[in-house]
C-alpha cells in the first residue's frame, strides 16, 4: 500500500507539471488580456500599459514568464525602471518556493487573496455536503427498501426535479420567498437574511446568526447533491439487498433491521463514500452561483472575477491548486475504497 501511494504521489508531481505548462499557455493565449480597460475606462493609456507590463512581468516572452512563475526571478537581473538596462535582481520566488505572485487587480499576494476566501468556501461547502449526505442517505435507504412505494415514487420525482432545477433560479426564488415575502411574526423583519455570512456589526461569534445565514445557501446548494446521492445510494442498496449473503443473513434468522444495517447498508455505502471523496474538489472550488446570489465571499466569486479581469496569477493559482485537489481526491477515493472493501487490492 505504501509503495502504491508513493508511486501515485510521484505521478501526481509529473502530472501537475505537465498540467501547469498547459494551463499557463491556455490562460495566457486565450483572447483578451489584463491590459484591456475595465470598469470605468475602456482603455489604458500607452504609457500606463508600458508601466503595467513591467510591473506584471508581461514584457517578457511567454516561456520566460512561465519560468519566472515556476522558479522566480531572484537569480537573474531585471530591468525594473524600464530604462533598458538590467539593474537589479528580481524579487519573485516562484510557486515552487510558495510564491504565487500578486493579483493584478488588488496587488495583494495571491495566497492572501485565496487565504481570505478559502475558509469561507470550505465552511459553506462542507456544511452543504454534510447536510446533503445526512438527508440523502436515509432517503436512499428507504427508497430502496420500500421500492415502488408512494414514498419512493414521490422522492424519485423530486430527485429529478432537484437535479434539473438550476441553482441560480432556485436561489432567487428562495430569496424572494424567505427574504422578500415571509416576515418573522415576532419582529416583522424578513424571515431569513438575503445573503452574507454573518450580520454586519454583530459582535463575536454568534452560532444562531451563523445558522440563519447558512440556511438559504445550503438549501440551494444541497438540493442537487441530495438528489444525486440519494439516487446513487438507492441503486447501490437495491443491488446489495438482492445479493446471496443478505438472503443468508435473513435465513439464519437475523432481524430485519440488523440485516439492513449491518450487512446491506455498510456494503452499499462503500461506493457512495468513494463518490464523496471524488466530489471533494468542490470543497475547494466552491459554487459560483450560490456564492454570487447569497453574497458569500468565497473562491467561486474570486475565480469568476479573476477570469473576467484576466487576473493571470489568481487564475493560475486557483487552477493549479484545484488540479492538485482533484488528483489527490482521486487518490484518496482509491485508498478509502481499498480500506473499506478488503477485497480490493491496490497494486
Amino acid at each position: 500500500m505504501a509503495t502504491y501511494i508513493a508511486r501515485r504521489l510521484l505521478q501526481t508531481v509529473g502530472l501537475l507539471f505537465i498540467l501547469s505548462v498547459l494551463l499557463f499557455a491556455l490562460v495566457n493565449l486565450a483572447p483578451g488580456g489584463p491590459l484591456a480597460g475595465q470598469g470605468q475606462s475602456r482603455h489604458i493609456d500607452p504609457a500606463k500599459i508600458e508601466l503595467l507590463k513591467r510591473q506584471f512581468g508581461l514584457d517578457k516572452p511567454l516561456p520566460m514568464q512561465y519560468l519566472i512563475w515556476l522558479v522566480g526571478n531572484d537569480w537573474m537581473k531585471v530591468d525594473k525602471d524600464g530604462d533598458g538596462t538590467l539593474d537589479s535582481y528580481g524579487t519573485r520566488l516562484g510557486i515552487l518556493r510558495g510564491d504565487f505572485g500578486f493579483s493584478f487587480r488588488s496587488r495583494q499576494p495571491v495566497l492572501t487573496e485565496i487565504g481570505d476566501r478559502l475558509p469561507n468556501t470550505i465552511y459553506l461547502t462542507t456544511v452543504t455536503l454534510l447536510v446533503a449526505a445526512l438527508i440523502a442517505i436515509p432517503i436512499g435507504i428507504i427508497s430502496a427498501i420500500r421500492q415502488y412505494s408512494t414514498f419512493d415514487i414521490t422522492v424519485t420525482t423530486f430527485s429529478f426535479a432537484g437535479q434539473a432545477i438550476p441553482e441560480f433560479w432556485l436561489g432567487l426564488i428562495m430569496i424572494l420567498i424567505f427574504y422578500a415575502w415571509l416576515k418573522n411574526p415576532f419582529t416583522g423583519e424578513p424571515l431569513l437574511p438575503a445573503g452574507g455570512m454573518t450580520s454586519v456589526g454583530s459582535a463575536g461569534f454568534d452560532l444562531g446568526d451563523r445558522i440563519v445565514h447558512l440556511i438559504l445557501p445550503v438549501a440551494t446548494g444541497a438540493l442537487g447533491w441530495v438528489a444525486w446521492y440519494s439516487r446513487f445510494l438507492r441503486s447501490s442498496m437495491l443491488e446489495v439487498v438482492h445479493q446471496d449473503y443478505i438472503r443468508t443473513a435473513r435465513a439464519k434468522g437475523l432481524n430485519n433491521w440488523k440485516v439492513l444495517y449491518k450487512h446491506a447498508l455498510r456494503n452499499a455505502l462503500i461506493p457512495l463514500i468513494t463518490l464523496l471523496a471524488l466530489d471533494l474538489p468542490y470543497i475547494f472550488g466552491g459554487a459560483i452561483f450560490v456564492e454570487f446570489l447569497f453574497a458569500w465571499p468565497g473562491m467561486g466569486r474570486l475565480y469568476y472575477q479573476a477570469a473576467l479581469n484576466r487576473d493571470y496569477p489568481i487564475l493560475m493559482a486557483v487552477l493549479i491548486i484545484g488540479a492538485g485537489f482533484i488528483i489527490l481526491s482521486n487518490l484518496l477515493a482509491d485508498i478509502v475504497y481499498a480500506w473499506l472493501d478488503p477485497r480490493i487490492r491496490l497494486e
Binding site: Y123, A295, P297
Partner: protein
Amino acid sequence: MHRLKVTSLVFVVLLTATSLFGCQPAAPSATTEEKSITIIIPEDPPSFNPVITDTGYDSLVMELVMLGLSDIDPEGKVFPELAAEIPTVENGGVVADEDAGTMSVTWKMRQDVQWADGKPVTANDVIFTYESIVNPETGGWIAGIDYIDSVEKIDDYTFTINYNAIYPGYLTQFGGEQVVIWPAHYCDAAQGFSAWECARKPLSNGPFVLSEWVTGDHMTFVRNENYFEKGKPQIDTVTVRIIPDKSVRKTMLVNGDADLDMWTTEQMMHDLKDEPNVEVSLSPYNRWVMRIFFNLAEKGTTDPVATPHPILSDLRVRQAIRAAIDVDTITKEFFLDYAKPAWTEFFRPPYECDNIERPKYDPAAAAALLDEAGWKDTDGDGIRECHGCKTAEEGYVMEMEFITYAEYGEQLELTQQLIAEGLGKIGIKLNLTVVEGSVLWGASTDGGIEQSGNFDMDIWDDGYAGVDPTDFLWSYYSTDSTVPDVGYNYGRWSNEEFDALLGEVYTLDENVRKQKFCEMAKVMEAELPDLLLFTATNGDAHSVRLQGIQSTTNDLVTWNAADWTLK
C-alpha cells in the same frame, strides 16, 4: 460499527473546525442611537487607489476617506478640497508662457486639515505623492503626468508645479475621482505607489475612517472626529456591503436593508419608481456616449490608405447608416427613457456646442444615399451589392460583422439587434457578435479586436471623465493615435484640420478652447469617423431617509458624503 463512529467523529470535528475558521474578528456592536447607513455595491474595491485600477468601486470608497487638491461637482464646476482656492491666471496662481509653451501653477493649501492621527496635511504630502507616482519602478500613471517637470515646495502649505507644456487639465490633475494626496509619514515609499499597504489600510483625511474590511463581504467606516468641516459628517457609520446580484440589491433597497445602490441600472430605476421607500437621484449631465466605431480600413488591417474598407470607407455609406438608426426607439424601449440622444462629443458643460444639428432618422434618405453610392440590390435577396461603388469590386456583397461587449447587459444587445434590423431593411446585412470587454479592448498583442483592426463595426460606450476633453480627443481622433496600441483611434481616421485644431486647444484661454472644440465638432460631423447615438443617464437609487444624495457623472455618488443626513 467502530469505524463508522470514528468517521462521524471526524466529521463533527471537521464541522467545528471549519465553522471556527469561518469566524470573523469581532466588530464593535452598534447602539440604537447611532446614525448608520448601508451602501450596496456588486464587487469588492481592489483598494482605495483608483489610479491603479479605476473600477469605480475604488473611487466610491476613496471619496469616503481621502481628499485630493480639488474635485468636480455635478455641474462640472471645479471646487477646492485640500486647496485653499483654485489657482487661475486671474488670481495669479497660474503663470503661463504661451509662446514658450510652459506654465507654473502655485497651489495654496488649507491649513486646518489633519490626518486621522492628528498630523497636519502639508505640501510634503503632495510632493511625496507626486514622487511616488513618477517612480519608474513602483509608480503609477495619471493623466498629464509627463507634462510636469518638477514640484517645488515653497512653504509647508504652498507648492509650485512646473509644467513643460500648457496643460489645461491641471485643475483636477491631483484631484477629481481618481487622484488623492497620500500621507508621507504613513505610506511606505519602498512598497511604492502601485502596491503600498496604505492603499488598503488608508489613513484618513476625509469625512470617514475605515474601521473594518472583510474581503468580499463588507467594509465599515466610522465618522472621522478630526474632519476639518465642523459639524460634519452627520452620519456615524457607513457600511459598504458587497452584493453581487442586482435583483438581490433591488430587493434589499425595497426591504429597507440598504440605503444606497451605486450606478443603478435603467431597469432597476424604472422598477423602483413607485416604491415608497426609495428615490432615484439622476445626474444633471451624462458622460457615457453609446457610439458605433467604423473601421475605415479593411477588416483585419489598420491602414485605411493602403487597404481601405470595402464598404465603410465611403462617407455616404456611413451617413446612410446613421440615417437608418432609430435612436428614439432605443432610448424609449430599451433604456426606458433613462437616456438622451447625443450626436457630438461636445454636449455637456463647460464645452457645449450648438452648431451641429441633430441628425434625422430617415430610412428612405438612407436608401437613396446607398443607391447614389453605387450599392444596389439587383439579385433580389434583400442585400445590396456593389454596382458601380467606388470602394469595392463589382458584385461585392454589403455584409459586415457588428460587435458589442457582454458586460453591459441586455439593453445593449437589444440595441445591437434593433440597429441590425434597421440596417437590414435598407439592404445592409449585419452579423451580430457579442464578446467580453477584455477581448474587445485588449492590446493587439493579446488579440484585442479593436487594436488589431479585426472588426467592421462595433458599438460600445465611452466619454471623457472630468471637465477636460483634450486627452480623450487626442486618443480617439488624432492621427498619432491611429498606431495600434498607442491610441484608440480604432477606425484609423486621420484628418489634418482636426489635428491642427487639437494642437490649438492646449491654451488656458477658455473662449479660444470652446471655439476650437466647436470647430472640431464640425470637422467630425462632416467626416463621421464614428457615430454618436445617445448617452445613458447616471443614476443612484437611495432610501428616502438618506438625504443629500446627488448623482454625478463627474465623480462617484460618495463625492459629497460629508453633507449627507439621515431623516
